[in-house]
Amino acid sequence: MQPYELTLADAAQQIRARRLSPVELVDSVLERIDQVDPHVGAYVAVTAEQARGAAREAEQEAARGMFRGPLHGVPAGLKDLIDVAGSPTSASSRVRAGHRAGADSTVAARLRAAGSVLVGKTHTHEFAYGLTTPQTGNAWDRGRVAGGSSGGSAVAVAAGAATFALGTDTGGSIRVPAALNGVVGLKPTYGLVPRHGVTSLSWSLDHVGPVTRTVEDAALVLNVLAGHDPRDPASLDTSAVDHRPEREPDLAGVRVGVPRNYYFDHVDAEVETAVRRGIAQLETLGVHLVEIDIPMTRYIHATQWGLMVPEATAYHEGTLRTVPELYQADVRILLEAGELMGAGDYLRAQRSRTLMQEEWARVLEKVDVIAAPTVPMTAVKAGQESVTWSDGSTEAVSDAYVRLSSPANITGVPALSVPVGHDTAGMPIGMQLLGRPFGERQLLRVGHAYERTQSARSLAPAA
């Protein structure tokens, strides 16, 4: 096994035991990037020299017996909405030409302080306003979409071109590409991970979180990212929690909600089968399955758009007036049309969110975790714009990909995507676990327990 193939937890163990040097690990990942990135286009920029320098420092510290924790010497990719001091934050957009971040974002600073080595910035759908990331190819079939908007991060992790990565999630942008590329993605509770220094799509829906190869790895990264920073007004001062799941979690008595409505409607049959098999596997681990009804489903799409569309337009107000021609066509038209949404519609969406949060809280009194598909279908071919369901109805690909993930953005509850197999075309399928606010530890326990029942996943071919 090559070092780039290691999970974060395994790499950390080997570095701690001095069987693996951070320099070897980072060199291995950089070589892997050279090998696969020309095929999949996960990275906007690779900072190889800085990464090698940081790896040497991590190695020198290790030689002195100094270990900063499990991320010590471990290479990471950051979605290119996340500021790293001295580097451009391109947002994968021509609008940001010449940009240079003056300081680290909170999450980049926390990763560095934990000893992680930043190897580069990964592609996003322009300014995170889309679900496909067209610059990047899927790690399992480059003719298919990467998913988005954190497509570069998910593809890099799936292909071994980063040991872990960070993404952002406004309607599903961590979980969607994680599901489509067969890796783990965690959208934490709103307010748990500070967004200071991260380019916004929609302030009231944006989250930052990890993309990893295993659930345990997601917990290790979350431990470093979580914690209050008053520079993000949504950041909450919560008590520190060790999110790492125990080695063999006991799920006896855990109540897992299985939605009767919404989450299995207009879902590809192979996706439904794989997710229901995953849920059945949880039952063998001792969980108690409870059928639940998802509330206010008619208003999910409307609430998501009523919040996101005007907030995104407001964020881009200046550049939409000065350099509109630099935006990609799909993003520009949404930003322009957003000027035409009135305050009444925005406030209705905010009031609907209040009602939805209350209704979801009632559901989450009855169950500890909800299990459902992450996305209704696997990765579609690049350029495909709509999907036709068995009842003859059609849906835009981007609407379909965001449909099952956006409730967690509206309500702020944590949501984890875990791989549960592949379809007959070989494309990965994701199961979504949703929990109570600040219930990440329970989500990660359930996800980890499931993962332990499966054989270790191989890296995507990405070539």
């Binding site: 909170t106 600073a109 926390r110 560095r112 302080a113 009231s204 914690g227 209050h228 920073d229 008053p230 520079r231 007004p233 949504a234 008619r298 208003y299 799409h301 409307a302 609430t303 758009w305 009523g306 569309v309 107000e317 939409l320 007036r321 038209i333 949404l334 322009e336 049309a337 957003g338 000027e339 035409l340 949404m341 519609d345 406030l347 209705r348 969406a349 905010q350 009031r351 609907s352 969110r353 209040t354 009602l355 949060q357």
Partner: protein, 69 residues
Amino acid sequence: MSSAELTPPEAARWTARAGLPLPDDRHAAVAATAGHIHSVVSVLRELDFGDTPPAGAYRAGKEKRDAAV
């Protein structure tokens, strides 16, 4: 097109009023996209909100800006 939908000239007028003058060749596309967004979001008018306040965080007083890593 229902009477509630914006025509291209109306879309141009209202975006201009919002401070975003649009080139002529964008009026129709922006009107169509705004119409689609409106059709999605207007469903919220069915809800009876009663005294429900909008969600949103607001705290009086400023915290010290000294937390980083």
